[in-house]
Subunit: 334 residues, 4 copies
């Protein structure tokens, strides 16, 4: 069993790591930290895990955690991870960081987050299907939830050099905003509504540009996020404007070849829905064409493929396990 640590385990991504790891046959969570809940049972923050985890939250001692664990998931806010990750790495453990701190080169990070990067390290961007080199990484920067769904939707066409520009119009469940009550997450504000926000300035745009730019340096990327009255899931509507008209069969071929042997990508003949991926690590992808554009839709669970599930997928590769170990469960529908 791989001894696993979770730093910052009181939020939704922490809870989801614990939920998913409770079914993992080769990994065992041996410590979960939370400054705020130090000494409290982990199930006090995650009552749905009652019966599945007996640990108490502890205050973070990076050296001790590194000592105990072969891999540590850091699920702390951006700007905080950079204070923890280097100590953990220096303690000899592998780290999978779910924050934004290691996803971008430091200069870009500083621009986008308006924050000095105090402790840059080499990291592999953990969008598993695009980065097989995760297998050899000691530090993986797990991608943002929006960039995961958006990049996977467009990557095959961009990689084929066929895309002039893409507009990502993404719709996320509100769990992406975290476990703390806010004005946005207040039920009367969210129910019977859909909230567009940061229409042109959401930070996740930078990850999309980085990843798609790697495939085709000239592609233009626009991104607008929304929150919908749903808890889990991100549906991304990717409006792709192509350099030339191609036919639908060709598009289907491009996707199939690009995602061959990628077990968590399911290519559909129809339009994905959130219900078919909820609670699972799948990314479902479907599309329709007209003369002017290709519209690709992807559906993920933001807390699984968009966060904790993909983190475990990365862990599997880093420990030479089958990519699907502990993650091969269907969605919970209805």
């Amino acid at each position: 069993m791989i001894p696993v640590g979770i730093v910052g385990g009181s939020g939704y991504t922490g809870g989801e790591l614990l939920r998913l790891l409770s079914a993992h046959p080769q990994a065992e969570v041996v410590c979960v930290t939370s400054r705020r809940l130090d000494g409290k049972p982990v199930i006090s923050a995650h009552p749905h895990l009652n019966g599945f985890i007996d640990l108490e939250f502890q205050n973070l001692d990076a050296a001790e955690v590194a000592e105990k664990c072969d891999v540590v998931f850091t699920a702390v806010p951006h700007g905080s991870a950079m204070d923890v990750v280097p100590q953990l790495l220096d303690g000899g453990t592998k780290v999978i960081d779910l924050s934004a701190d290691y996803r971008l080169p430091s200069n870009i990070f500083q621009q986008v987050y308006n924050l000095d990067h105090r402790a840059p390290r080499d990291a592999v961007f953990g969008l598993t299907e695009l980065h097989p080199e995760v297998a050899d990484a000691t530090l993986v920067a797990n991608p943002g939830c929006y960039p995961t769904g958006a990049t996977l939707a467009a990557a095959p066409m961009v990689n084929a050099g066929l895309v002039e520009s893409v507009v990502f119009d993404s719709k996320s469940g509100i769990s992406g905003a975290g476990a703390e009550p806010t004005t946005v997450s207040h039920y009367p504000n969210m129910a019977e509504n859909i909230q567009a926000y940061k229409l042109t300035t959401h930070r996740h745009g930078a990850e999309m540009r980085q990843e798609l730019g790697r495939l085709d340096n000239n592609v233009k990327v626009s991104f607008t996020p929304h929150v919908i009255p749903s808890v889990r899931g991100i549906l991304t509507t990717a409006h792709l404007f192509l350099k030339e008209k191609i036919d639908a069969t060709h598009v289907a071929d491009i996707y199939q070849q690009f995602y061959i042997n990628k077990p968590f990508i399911r290519l559909l003949n129809n339009i994905p829905v959130l219900g078919a991926v909820r609670g699972s690590n799948f990314c479902d992808i479907g599309f329709e064409m007209d003369a002017e554009r290709l519209v690709v839709v992807s559906a993920i669970d933001n807390l699984v493929k968009g966060a904790s599930g993909q983190a475990i997928q990365n862990m599997n590769l880093m420990f030479k396990l089958d990519e699907t170990t502990g993650l091969w469960t269907p969605a919970v529908f209805p």
Copy 2:
């Protein structure tokens, strides 16, 4: 035009008073107070009223408000109203208090709210259909939302002396908990859920016991509230255990006679739903019988008949207007 003041106008009941009064042909809101938002436009807290009210929030000066207004609605938390209401009354204005401070005799209030009553005054309990003496009151204590729906469901049978005991199992939209985000109102906690709370100790039970006790001193009243993933509305399932078996026609007669000439009570041949009352001042009532008990269901909009609408209904009577003035609008469905 009756000059109207609203003390504590930044919350949901304040907003609902403003919405409803914007359509009232005989009343005009002339001041709205809020300590927190002093100087800000009223529409900053209520963007849906953009175009309907030009006032700014002001800090409360009770003497000035009493001077300007013929009637003042106080929509402040319980425990605060008692510091404001007497000053307003002494300033010569009528007051309709939406807090709990004047609904119960002071000794009961102190027991139930665990709070000394610093300023008792005579008040009429503003459950309009049961208290025609509202017309002559200078201080009306507007009832709680749960007591409104529950009492109206059971009153005719209790008044007829037929009820041994009643269990009110009430289900409320989350707007009843107010405009401030809380753990309970956090979308991921409320969606796909229903939360029972204060299973045996909710304070509104005292109002139900007072009002039904006036009709039959021996009736036993139990009450359990829940919040459901809806914004507006309270559905009350009243399980009435009768002293003797009676037939359904007799029950229907009792309700019709009791609510004759009560325009906001609609007696149905089927089971009420929240959609048919949303946004309106109606209380819909329906029932079914079996050998053992009579199950009566009532549906109200908690912010209208359960709060601001009933307050205006009371104002109408206090100013010798038709009870329905400004309130005769259908529900918004779907």
Copy 3:
């Protein structure tokens, strides 16, 4: 009082016409037809209108309806309206048709709906803010719900000749799909989901192209609709790609001038939300810019400004009433 008829009054737009007209001081509904519910009380289909309308549904006799009414709203499916509208017009009444039958020139209609047009007539496209000539029309083709929100969002910029192309990504409440249960509207399919559909082929695209094409013949229009787990409302995210960069103040000026004296357009400094328009006839508009594009968001209630409210707005103009008569009510929030 203007005597009003409603042909096809059992659905959601019929119910909404009845709800709104119940508050109209100058109009009175004198007949409501429904083949299926002939002889049944209107409130059997619309229980929320209990107390507001005493009529029974009747089978359609076009001559009789035209005789009785000065204006008739036709709320029947596309393809059916063309069998009714000409008879009504020939009977001497004005008609406001809520179906798609008279929105497009017959040749375009035939292409888009794959249906011969059996009875073309001259009609004015009833997007009120863009078509003041509604005032002189005898037949108004009330626009689709999506085209209303989308066109209003983009029209000022297109009219200014500044737009190269626009992507409308629209999100609608499910009430737009009507009162009949379907697989899409089945609660377990809709809850916690968002369903993209007709990614490139929705028929409402033709209306957008027609209306924006009138303002600038060269603008390229793309449209993808979604249904969200909400009952009412359409939020349209309009991604506008401009011919040249302009600054935000200039954009604001263009919108203000274009919509001067248009009481139902509210230009916001922030991003519109559905809650602020629910139940009302407003269209709220806000925007943000980046170097590459202008993102404009509009919010309407699909059943009001997107259908029945705008139809009454048109009626007001056709009868030389103030545009806002009977419609000047704020949204119901929360």
Copy 4:
């Protein structure tokens, strides 16, 4: 591996059996029948199982199914199961029937369902915690969803002889009504609503009376069901009127002893919520007391502990496996 058949596999309970069995280490689904979908891939009805099951639906041949399978789950409507179950049993397979046909003695069944029972057989009522004799059954009648949550909430107190009467006020997610769209499940009817139905006559009351009557013949049972705007879950509020006052510690003891070694019953110190059981086989139970009554709240997932999960729990016992095999997974929250 135990070869398993599912008769009537196109609905929600069929889908849930497939989902749960996909994780069961000792059972393998070898045939799934559906008359309507004969020849279609199972994933055409259950797209969320894409990748987890390769079978096609087949038309039912009872002899063949019995031949192939060691156990068959019948998930067909009540009134149909009695035409299938005897043939399966006679073919030598064990049967777990999820319909109502074998839950009640035939005479009671005929009364309650107003239907002659054409093929009575001996069956064990499969409320696992109360019926250890399931282990030796060849036919298990899996309980209704409401009776599961309600009976488990009240059984310990009734068994202790302390309960005079109980009112079950239950709130169910709409998935309990099945996969076919209906007026009740139409999103605009269900959203922002809660629908009480069959206030005094729901058939599941008979199962509650049977099971609690076994523990104390004199207890009076009332039951009113509701559907709430949630997909999964049943929260039951059990209002227990006791013969004598007892203290809360005593109550807690009674529950702990009654449910000792019952892994799927979690006794809480607070009030259960649906989120903590969603997708899992747990029944969470909590309570509060006042002088007059004990209010016990139970939470289950109606499709798991209320149907397919409990069915598999029964299968485990029937095959001498650990009760939790394949079912020991936490809820999916948020």
